[in-house]
């Protein structure tokens, strides 16, 4: 393989001109200047002569750095406050993903740049904030456990989340056991039930049997006899924290 050596003064920028065979004008590739910067212009890759050092770097592992010469992932974008990646569609909107974009530094944000509004945020404490009809991006509180079961005949769970089992303690009396325990017992229970289409019903978590981190007990009753426990064919329980 042959090699071509170009020699010249270390000061200034050398120019190596390639004639574009079918183009309207020549394109230029500027040789590295004394800082090692390679400049191109007018082509598919356009590097402005004023671009700062480390604007784009590819290290020995193939990691690409933007704003850093030491990228630690395949694409590593580094910058000051509000550093973000823009995604813009000419037919849609301009989105920005980044740190502290329209929010406190340290928060990961999806920002609607076209609409000038924060749409989603994960703050430094791990809280997830989103709008979803609330009116603005606000902390969303999760349903930490839920279950839908049939309390009649052969008692069976239809579907559930973070529930390991239910304990059938007796007529209209069940314990919902959590797969992963709650951090404390200060959670909220939402429950409902019925015997459709025959009867409406109710489900409640009795205060006399306090909530625990591992389970919550619920009682079922019919609308025609609220003091008498009964089995309901549809029992739904959700736990929020």
């Amino acid at each position: 393989m042959s090699k071509i050596a170009l020699e010249g003064n270390a000061s200034g920028i050398g120019t190596f001109t390639i004639s574009a065979p079918n183009g309207n004008s020549n394109r230029t590739l500027s040789l590295p200047d004394e800082t090692g910067t390679v400049l191109t212009s007018g082509g598919a890759i356009d590097v402005n002569a004023s671009a700062p050092a480390d604007s784009l770097a590819i290290n020995a592992s193939g990691n690409v750095g933007i704003g850093t010469s030491s990228p630690t992932s395949k694409l590593h974008v580094y910058g000051g406050a509000g550093t973000n990646i823009g995604i813009q569609s000419s037919a849609g909107r301009h989105w920005r993903l980044g740190d502290g974009v329209g929010a406190t530094n340290g928060s990961f944000v999806i920002y609607d740049y076209t609409g000038s509004a924060k749409r989603l945020e994960i703050d430094a404490s791990g809280n997830l904030l989103f709008n979803s009809g609330y009116g603005s991006a606000a902390t969303a509180y999760g349903c930490r456990a839920w279950v839908n079961f049939n309390g009649t005949g052969t008692v069976a769970i239809r579907a559930s989340g973070n529930v390991s089992s239910i304990t059938d303690n007796g007529t209209g009396n069940y314990t919902v056991n959590f797969t992963t325990a709650m951090p404390d017992a200060d959670y909220s229970v939402s429950a409902s039930g019925g015997y459709p289409p025959i009867r409406d019903g109710g489900v409640y978590a009795p205060a006399s049997q306090s909530l625990t981190t591992s389970a919550v007990r619920v009682r079922c009753f019919g609308s025609n006899a609220p003091d008498t426990p009964i089995d309901l064919s549809v029992v739904s329980v959700a736990v929020f924290r």
């Binding site: 008692v155 390991s164 089992s165 059938d168």
Partner: protein, 63 residues
């Protein structure tokens, strides 16, 4: 799951644990976690549990 876990309640009745298929735990793991500590229990087939709950309060546990 077609298994159930049963144990005797403090008032002499029977508690039946219905496992959640989606929880990712085995029936033994559920028993270890959800049966009150120290309570003897049995793992039975769902067909061993009466479907008629008319006298649910009268069910008794036999070791």
């Amino acid at each position: 799951m077609n298994s159930r876990i049963i144990y005797q309640t403090d008032n002499g009745g029977v508690a039946v644990i219905v496992p959640a298929a989606e929880c990712g735990l085995s029936i033994e793991e559920i028993a270890a976690k959800d049966v009150p500590a120290g309570k003897p229990f049995k793992i039975v087939d769902v067909s061993d549990i009466p479907e008629d709950r008319t006298f649910r309060g009268a069910w008794e546990y036999s070791a």
